[in-house]
Symmetry: C2
Subunit: 214 residues, 2 copies
DNA sequence: TTAATTAGAGGCACCAATGTACCTAAAGGA
DNA sequence: TCCTTTAGGTACATTGGTGCCTCTAATTAA
């Protein structure tokens, strides 16, 4: 309703609410914009993503957006890179199974955390036309997890928990792939039990520790 | 340039090319439209998908489209369901490893076949807003593969190749998940060697047949 | 404090796609 | 064969986003 409280007669109309939102600039504004991008992606998807919608959600105008980014895609790229810059610390519980569970839980939480989770799907869909977007996703989200998992496996080899020959890219990628597919195709968050099932019935058996229904 | 070749003065202008394309109806038209939808999805993506573009690519007008479908999404749904109605026959080579390779090759070829492959990614991206789309994908593409793989595993159990306890949903889904992620995130077609690696280093080991570099 | 910067808000012309309407003629069934 | 259906083409008003413009005032650096 654009006419709520129509402009008062006198010029230099004060904005209806004196309690105007503080004007942001620099990083504070960037943070608001990035958050708006993810929220907008999550809510309306890449298909209906517009500069206008982002600006409105960020409580800003379109000018600050056009000034910085030529296209919504470029903006999404920066927002993604920003959101994915977290990256948790190393995992080393001393137990392979526990390590794997930590990795998978981390990935689940990171992938499915609020708007980011929904935004990821939207980005994947445009991968064919915007390789940079999906490359960012791969390099800053998937790859770090794979590297971390491989490290855990190597430590387990050193501890003698598993044989060195069993470690392979395929085994490292299996868990994240299942979680990703579950998220993208089935649209659900794997529960703790499901993560445990991945570890106990797929990854550990593939590493030479047969599953035994305890 | 809307004015290219502006309307000739006389009315009842004959279409410039006498060699008019034969007018299609019924299934022939539907096929052309469905093909156009997938091609359009693959080329411009869901983001830029328009009725206009689909009609133009199908060499048709928008009327036949609007007459049948309210939204591009509804049209995509039908096109997807149509494209995914193939479904190969049962797989039973008598050898577990060979069965798995056949399954994975089939899935690779089906998922990556031309326009359909690119279209799938586009559809996944809008999954959050159009559950029917991704449900179609899941029910007509992913699930049949999982069921078929499980059958192959059960036959292997009966043959005594593997133990019954090793068969689990996670093991069945591992291969398809890796292939899917490879396609969606890495944007590449798994080669035959990579499919073999998935079988030999992940699935078979998880089923109790440790990998041994021959 | 002053000056430079720039966010927030509004306006505007442009363009692409929408959704509808109409007309013609081709296809297929009677 | 006639006749019903409906595809192909065109036109049109409407909508919504774009990209740019301007003005004001809040913020920050000097």
């Amino acid at each position: 309703m654009p006419e709520c409280g129509r402009p008062l007669p006198e010029r230099r109309v004060r904005v209806s609410e004196q309690v105007k939102k503080a004007r942001r600039r620099g990083q504070a504004l960037l943070d608001a914009i990035y958050a708006a991008v993810l929220a907008e992606l999550a809510e309306v998807g890449f298909r209906r993503l517009t500069m206008e919608g982002i600006a409105a959600r960020a409580g800003s105008g379109r000018m600050p957006l056009y000034r910085r980014w030529d296209t919504p895609e470029a903006l999404v790229l920066d927002a993604l890179a920003d959101a994915l810059s977290a990256g948790g610390g190393p995992v080393d519980t001393g137990d392979l199974r526990e390590d794997l569970l930590v990795h998978f839980r981390r990935m689940t939480e990171q992938v499915l955390a609020g708007d980011l989770g929904a935004a990821l799907g939207a980005v994947v869909g445009e991968g064919a036309r915007h390789p940079e977007l999906v490359a960012t996703l791969r390099d800053r989200l998937l790859r770090p997890h794979l590297v971390a998992i491989e490290q855990s496996l190597r430590r387990a080899v050193e501890r003698g928990e598993i044989g060195a020959a069993a470690v392979s890219p395929e085994v490292c990628a299996a868990g994240p792939a299942l979680i990703t597919v579950q998220h993208l195709i089935n649209g659900v968050t794997p529960t703790g039990d499901e993560l445990a099932a991945i570890v106990d019935r797929l990854v550990l058996p593939a590493l030479g520790r047969p599953f035994s229904a305890s």
